[in-house]
């Protein structure tokens, strides 16, 4: 019996049952794992995002830890205040964690994220990147993938720019730890949460966030689509220590991006006869990004 318990990834649950997320959402799963690693002496700072809702309305708390809701643009700043106060009060063991979406990270919150990263605040910043403003009803963010439709990029005006390289921007702040994570690679994800927890300074985790209503996917396929995103190199798994890049997973087979995109309704229009150029563009960009990442890893340990 003891052996059986030992084999569970989560020894003791640090979230309460009954999260308010949609079926197949990444938030509930990722917070469940993060909370199980960080424990109860943790303050979660939450800007406007899907997690503002999932964390529970007034009177409820999804996590066995503390939750602080704050303004959209300044979660890292609020976290800075919380961190400073806890440090002054001698609770240096506490974890201070920002749980933000991609809108709060790539767009409106980018300045305060940059400020906190530059100051080296001892904060773990977690971005659940589901590629749009999902909480307000699927509007385009600068994390929205090329080719996707949203309610503010409706077909045929699908998004025709590439998401900004946020991992590049954040790791350029010379922080001790930044990593991409996938819920389909849960042991890798958990290892990275541990690394972030133990980092001496600001750490950043970006998770590929499944969103069935926003991506127009079947909730039962959330994990398999997340796995395909890694296998097709749409969402490579890597980590950056200061400026040094390490790729954590090399796909064993060449799988075209179509295999992942065709399962998502937000890309459906790309599979009509006259739209094949867009698929080609995405494949070329993904290949180019991957080659660049491999080169970055190669040169990372040469100096």
């Amino acid at each position: 019996m003891a052996d059986l318990v030992y084999k569970f990834l989560i020894g003791e649950e640090k979230v309460y049952p009954g999260a308010l997320s949609c079926r197949g959402c990444g938030w509930a799963l990722l917070v469940r794992h993060i909370a199980s690693i960080l424990g109860e002496n943790t303050v979660y700072v939450v800007p406007a995002s899907c997690y503002s809702i999932i964390a529970g309305p007034y009177g409820y708390n999804h996590v066995k830890g503390s939750t602080v809701h704050t303004v959209f643009a300044a979660a890292p700043a609020t976290a800075t205040g919380v961190r400073a106060a806890l440090d002054r009060q001698g609770n240096k063991d506490a974890n201070v964690v920002v749980l933000a979406g991609d809108g709060g990270t790539f767009d409106i919150g980018l300045q305060s994220l940059s400020g906190a990263a530059s100051r080296g605040e001892r904060i773990i910043y977690v971005c659940n990147n589901n590629g749009a403003y999902m909480n307000t009803g699927i509007q385009t963010s600068t994390a929205t993938p090329y080719g996707a439709v949203t309610t503010t990029n409706p077909n045929p005006s699908y998004k025709k720019t590439w998401p900004k390289d946020l991992m590049g921007i954040v790791s350029s702040h010379n922080i001790p730890y930044a990593a991409t994570c996938s819920l389909a690679f849960i042991q890798d994800f958990r290892r990275k949460v541990e690394r972030a927890k133990n980092a001496d300074g600001f750490s950043f985790l970006m998770i590929d966030g499944p969103c069935p209503p926003g991506h127009k996917t079947d909730p039962s396929q959330s994990i398999s689509i997340a796995r395909l995103a890694v296998e097709t190199k749409l969402f490579p798994l890597f980590e950056v220590e200061h400026h040094r890049v390490k790729i954590n997973y090399y796909p064993k087979k060449e799988i075209p991006v179509e295999e992942c995109l065709k399962l998502q309704g937000r890309f459906r229009h790309l599979f009509k006869e006259n739209a094949t150029d867009a698929l080609k563009t995405i494949q070329e960009q993904v290949d180019s990004n991957w080659k660049r990442l491999v080169k970055l890893e190669e040169i990372s340990y040469q100096f």
Binding site: E40, N41, T42, V43, V45, S52, I53, A55, G56, P57, Y58, G59, Y60, N61, V63, K64, G65, S66, T67, V68, H69, T70, V71, A73, A74, A75, P76, A77, T78, A79, T80, G81, V82, R83, A84, A85, L86, D87, R88, Q89, N91, D93, A94, Q111, S112, S114, G115, S118, R119
Partner: protein, 395 residues
């Protein structure tokens, strides 16, 4: 309010040290005396020397606080919010555009019922102007902060100390407002109380059990449904009604301890013979005080507590006044409407209680000097039966 006579006669306040301080340095000195533990900061003229001085005090170990250079005023106030949620005594300062930029967070801090004292050194908005003007803070009247306007460096220092008692009693944030340059950058004699005297008046920050500490999990600020939202506003409203009395009580207690009395308003030469009362805030009050020896028929109603507006104190101060007296509001603010802030507030306070012929004078915006001659011009202008709204010394 500095008792000028006391200064000239060098009447000593016990357990105080006399210093020559600019308004901004008096503010920094007060933050230190109050043992503020967390100071997020961002530079903006003309408050910058407040946070510079605080950074120096912290860097040299003169003050035990965590000082953080933030990335914007929006982040300054968001950080102040986080530290206050975790129970720290928080201080910071800003001006003009900085305060406008932080507007969203001002609402959040007040709605979270977080105690803190913040200085605003007033200046207007675009086109660029860095000089004295109260438009910035008066435009924040509806964010739910208590606002107290100061006249001298001594009053800045004393008001910050009182501000922490007020804010930590009611859990409503306090904004202490200074005039740019006329106060922020002008040196004056200031009696600086000894630390032990301040400690006896202002105890260390007490936790109330609602703070984030890491050991007792709790959630702050989750979504509140329509059925419950009003209960928070109602509780806040009940406390907002206590502000005026509390400001008067704390001002009186401060007087007993430190020898300098303060009230929500100050009535000067208001009696049954007073023909004209200037309603003033901040440093313009000092200028009007200066002409009273030439004009025994003039009185002053200095508004110290601006928000929530101290209706009871105003009515009490004007009680001796005859119904024929004129009320003249001096406005160093422009809020995009017909009337300035003082006229709006005075009319609201007097409605249904007393009726006086009332004038509103726009003066000194963007730092323009309001000299004794300007005050004389105001008296002449009002006596010549002008329109209700006057722009003085304006061509």
């Amino acid at each position: 309010m500095t008792d000028v006579k006391n200064m000239e006669n060098a009447v000593e306040f016990k357990r105080h040290n006399p210093k020559i301080l600019k308004g901004n340095f008096a503010a920094a000195e007060a933050a230190k005396l109050c043992k503020a533990g967390f100071i997020p900061a961002y530079p903006i003229t003309p408050q910058t020397t407040i946070v510079e001085e605080l950074s120096r005090k912290v860097a040299t170990g003169e003050m035990d606080a965590t000082y953080v250079n933030m990335d914007s005023e929006h982040s300054v106030f968001a950080a102040a919010m986080g530290a206050a949620m975790a129970g720290e005594r928080v201080f910071t300062a800003t001006s003009g555009q900085g305060l406008f930029y932080a507007h969203e967070v001002l609402h959040a801090i007040a709605h979270f019922r977080l105690p803190m004292v913040v200085c605003n050194v007033g200046r207007p908005s675009i086109p660029w102007n860095i000089w004295a003007d109260q438009t910035d803070s008066l435009a924040q009247r509806d964010t739910g902060w208590i606002q107290i306007y100061t006249e001298t460096s001594q009053e800045v220092l004393d008001t910050i100390i009182q501000g922490y008692i007020i804010t930590e009693t009611l859990d409503i944030p306090v904004m202490v407002v200074l005039d740019a340059f006329y106060l922020s950058h002008t040196s004056e004699n200031v009696w600086v109380p000894e630390q032990s005297l301040v400690d006896e008046f202002l105890p260390p920050k007490q936790k109330k059990g609602v703070e984030i500490d890491g050991y007792h999990p709790k959630a702050i600020g989750g979504l509140i449904p329509p059925e419950e939202y009003e209960t928070f506003e109602y509780a806040w409203w009940k406390d907002a009604l206590k502000v005026e009395d509390l400001v008067n009580t704390v001002g009186k207690q401060f007087g007993e301890k430190f020898g300098r009395n303060y009230q929500a308003v100050e009535a000067i030469n208001i009696n049954e013979k007073t023909e004209m009362v200037f309603v003033t805030t901040s440093t313009i009050t000092t200028t009007v005080r200066g002409i009273l020896n030439l004009h025994p028929e003039i009185g002053i109603l200095k508004i110290r507590l601006m928000k929530p507006f101290p209706k009871k104190s105003v009515l009490e101060a004007l009680k001796p006044l005859s119904d024929n007296a004129l009320i003249v509001n001096i406005e160093r603010n422009f809020l995009g409407g017909k009337e300035g802030a003082l006229m709006q507030e005075m009319k609201r306070a007097l409605y249904g209680e007393r009726y006086f012929k009332m004038y509103d004078i726009y003066a000194g915006m963007g730092g323009k000097d309001v000299s004794p001659i300007t005050i004389e011009n105001m008296i002449d202008k009002v006596r010549s039966n002008p329109d209700e709204i006057i722009w003085i010394d304006f061509e």
